[in-house]
Every structure is written in C-alpha cells, then in structure tokens.
Symmetry: C2
Subunit: 335 residues, 2 copies
C-alpha cells in the first residue's frame, strides 16, 4: 500500500466559522500537512482569529502547529471590526473552546510564509481564506515568493455572481483591495475560488446534525458553530443552511475536489474609491466560446466544481476520532 | 374591431446596425408612433447617426418624422470614434442608402425630448439605445422630465453578464458613464435592458436570409447590414449570427415582448477612473431569494424574456411592404 505524499501547507485565515471548518478539513485531509498558520483581520481581528486557531488546533490534537499573528489593519484604512452578525462576537458562533496552552509563534504571518517557502522550495502550497494583507506583505519581504511557492489558492471574489459585502465585491477582497491587487498581479498562477463556486456549495441542516451526532469534539464543536452561521444564511437562502466558502477552497487546494469550469483569465481588483471598490474584475467575455486562451492570463477562476461537496466535507470532518481529542474536550458551549 | 392605441415614442439612438433594426421595428410596431428621434455619438458620431436615421426613415416611407442632432461628445472627454469594426465605417455595414431629402430638425436632441414630453405629458415613452448624453442633458433642461415621461427603456449595461467593451462594462454606458449615472439617479422608473437579455436574443443566418428574400427595400437593406454585423459576432459566438441589443429593448418598450425575470433593484454606474468605469452596478444579491423588494429601488433590470424574439423581430420587419417604399429604393449596396 502506498501512502499519498502530504503537501506542506501554509494557511492564512481570519478564523471565522467557515475558516474553522476549513482548518479542520485541512487537518483531516490525508494529502495535506499544515506546516504553519498565519492570521489576518477579516471575520474577526487577527488576534481573535489567532486565539480561535490555537484553541481549535488544541481541540484537534494538533497543538504543535505554529500560529503566527498577522496584520491587524489592511493596507488602506483600518480594520472595520469584522462581521459578528455572521460569525458571532467571538468569531466561532459563541462556542467556547478550552483555551490553548500553546503560544503564538515568534514571527509575523508574512515572515512565517516566507520562512516556510524557503524550507519547502517549490512544494509549499498557500491557502489564503481571509483578506490578502499578509500575502501581499510576504511578496514584499520576498519578491521570489511566486517562484518558491508551488500553488496559491484564494477564497475570494465574485465573477458572475453578486458580491456579499457590496453588490459586486466579496468580503475577503473588499477588506483589503490593495493587497488583493498586489497578489493577483504577482507572477504566480493563482486559483481563485469566488462566490460563484462557494455559494453553490451549501451545507444543510442534516449535515449539521451529522456533525453534532459525532462522538468526537471537533465535529461537534463545528456543528455548534454552524448553528450560528446558519441563522445568518437563513436571510440569504430562506432556510437554515450555509455556503461553504473556505472549506471549498481548502478541498480544491488539496486536490480532493476538482473544478469543472475554471477558465484562466485576466483578473484585476478594483482599488478605486468608486462603487466597484473591492470587486474582482475577471475577464469572462469568452464565455460564449468556451473561454479561449487569454495571453498573459494567470488567474484560474473556479466557477463550478464536480461532485457533492457538502457530503465530502462532512465525511472528512467525521474522520476526527474521539481518541485523539477526547482528553482535551470542550470547555463549554453557548449553543 | 378596435385598433390598439399607438404610444408616442422619442427614440434616442446612435445608428448603428442594431439601431437601424430597432428603428425599423419601432416603425413597424402597431402600438408605437415615433414622434421624434435624437442622435448621439456612440456606434458612430451623432452626425453620421443622424444621416443614417434620415436615410432609413426615407427608405421606410417615414420621412416626416423629425430627427434632431444630439451631443457629439460625452460629458467627460471626447467621442472616441465609434466602433467601425462592429458597424462598418458608415455605421450601417457599408450599405449605401439613397440620401434623404429631409433635413435635421432645428433643435437639439435634448430640446426635442423636452418638447415632446410637454406635448405628450404622461404618455411619452423614451427609448434610449445609445449613450445617455442627450437624456442627461434633457434632465438638466427640464427637471420635471421624470414626471412628464411615461416610461424610459434603456438598452445598456451588464448585470450578471460580462461587459462587451471592458470585462464589466457595456458600450452604451461606458461611452458616457457620467450621463448614465445621472439618468439612473433621476426620479423615474427605468427599465434597463442589459447584455444579460440581449446576448441571449440572437438572430441567425436563416433569419437574415428571410429578410434578404423580402421584396421590400427595408428588410433587404437590414439583411445586408447584418452581413457585416454577423462577421463581427462570429468572433464572439463562433458562428455567423448576432445579438439583438437595440431591437430587444424596442420590443420591450412597446410591450410586444414580456420580461420573465426583471427584478427592480438599486443600480448605480461606476464613474470612477478604475477598471470598473462604466459598469452598471445592479444589486442582485437577492438572487437566492427570488429578489425581495428593495426599498428605494427604481431600476427594473431585464435578465430574461419570454418567447422567440428573433422570430418576432423578423416577422415584424417583414411587414414592411414593397408598395410603401419601392419608389424610394436602394441607391446601391456594398454587400
């Protein structure tokens, strides 16, 4: 029996309920090894996101994975306070986890990314599921980053789909458009996982119940967090359920989910102060011809994916076993 | 037998091949009466568009309809020279029409619109199928215009669909974003007919052959113009055919075609100098809930229409009879 190689990953996140699911998915994915995690302000502040990340890692029995604090403020302006109406005041839907013993790594998120890129030249995969402030900072620290990194997958943007923070802008990109513009302009091939794909990847109440019925604390905690998340999405979809933004990007990054429609197109970010600020402007004018090749294009925009993602996600999260994590347990729950 | 009332129309156009089809459609529509036409620079200059309009009116036996010259330049910058690669150097695909005897009206397009609105208070319908420079000027000449006009229908913009002049902007709006912003902000209910609807309303080669086989000069001339137009659209669709932008807007304005998906949403125009300039930013975030009502929204965005529009268009254009127009004839043809 051959064991598939595990790709080293740097995860950049703003943990966040769907970030928590993406992190757990990545820890459970048999082809991924999380080498380090940086946090950034987005759904919550970088500091709260780091706390949530450390607590989740401990709950999952992965307290050894280093977590670095990243940028609090975007490149322009200052952090706006996050989205407590989506993720709860503590970012994880009011669920209370046992406080982690581990401390933050003695480096910034951008420094960690650059370090890991040098330690794993040509093989490090970057998964960015928050605003792109840290990634842009890392590009400035190490201009060769695009050559050192194997792949970068970004949850962000909206192509044909409406935005979720303005009519045309998705929150991760809108929270730091200048950083996103820098990241998309760098000389690497980016896989962008926009709302087009993630809003079509919906977790339903019966999926949540499967997580809650687990004997392992990680799926149970995630199921409780989703109760809060579902209430926000009820206003979007008209029923308790939720889009799976960050977990879908994680599944694409590890290669467990394949994109079926994902043209490589020219893409820019609107950094104006107009009503389009924060929009990912993807050149999809080739739609009528099946997207002919665009010279110089480097952004692979995932519009559709194959298979039943929600089922795959739940199945993967249920591989967390009681034995690895029972000793740590949950400190309590607001659900 | 009751004859349906004919709605008085002011047509604002930049004639243009699909403008020519829209004009002919409007002349043939049993519920419309064209009270006046203004031209604006867009596909061609306002002056060339006026010449084409006068020549077409004469060919169609409607030389009595007044044509007013409108704005040559948009509000910001200057006219960019039009789109000869789409519409031909003369704007009507190189087809040569007998020069009209009638002269231009002694008023500007904006003045004509204001005059007609006062002459038909509450019943005038405005159909704008070019850049919105004249309409914005008329709003400044007569601030009560939104109360005087019954309806305004605009061919322009892109909602979910990609743009056709930039990745996100449609040409009519992009040619004068400041005017479009003014028109969408005025206190009237606008029906916007964007690329979402018009790119799905395609005329095929067999339709063109039906027009060419007519014994009447108007359909024949339009069929010849479409030969040029089809060559441009072959690069978009991969076969000789074309979208029917302006004629679809005309059919919606006269009520002959019904919209099946047309949410009333908040809409703005990007007037920034960023990559989104000229985009119509329609708030379509309600898509997952069937577009709940948006307080203060006034822009009806036509996303889908019912029926076989191409067949309806051809059928209507074929009602031009030999007798009304044969005496005038075609001066010749480049086709």
């Amino acid at each position: 029996m051959t064991v598939p190689p595990r790709h080293p990953f740097y995860l950049d996140c703003d943990t966040g309920i769907d970030d928590a699911l993406a992190l757990a998915y990545l820890l459970a994915a048999p082809t991924a090894r999380v080498a380090g995690i940086g946090t950034v302000s987005g759904n919550v502040s970088a500091a709260v996101g780091a706390r949530n990340t450390l607590d989740l890692l401990q709950l999952a029995g992965h307290a050894h994975i280093p977590v670095a604090l990243g940028a609090h403020d975007p490149q322009a302006g200052s952090f706006g306070g996050g989205a407590p109406w989506v993720h709860g005041d503590n970012g994880i839907g009011g669920v209370s986890l046992a406080p982690a013993v581990a401390e933050l790594a003695p480096e910034t998120a951008a420094e960690m990314l650059v370090r890991l890129a040098h330690e794993h030249p040509g093989t490090l995969r970057v998964l960015a599921i928050g605003p792109l402030t840290n990634i842009a900072e890392a590009l400035r620290l190490e201009p060769a980053l695009p050559q050192l990194v194997e792949e970068i997958t970004i949850m962000g943007g909206a192509a044909f789909a409406p935005g979720n923070i303005t009519p045309v802008a998705e929150a991760n990109i809108h929270n730091d458009p200048e950083a996103a513009a820098e990241v998309l302009a760098a000389s690497w091939n980016v896989t962008l996982v926009p709302l087009d794909a993630t809003m079509a990847s919906v977790l339903e109440e019966h999926h949540r119940q499967e997580l809650l019925s687990s004997s392992a604390p990680v799926p149970r905690a995630l199921g409780e967090m989703l109760g809060y998340y579902f209430r926000f999405y009820e206003g979007i979809f008209g029923r308790p359920c939720s889009a799976m933004h960050d977990p879908l990007a994680a599944a694409l990054a590890v290669g467990a989910v394949k994109a079926t429609v994902a043209p490589v197109v020219r893409a820019a970010v609107d950094t104006s102060s107009g009503p389009g600020r924060g929009q990912t402007i993807c050149d999809l004018r080739g739609v009528h011809m099946g997207y002919p090749e665009q010279p110089g294009a480097r952004c692979r925009v995932v519009l559709e994916v194959e298979g039943d993602f929600a089922a795959h996600l739940v199945e993967t999260l249920l591989t967390f076993s009681e034995s690895t994590t029972a000793a740590l347990g949950l400190a309590g729950s607001a659900a």
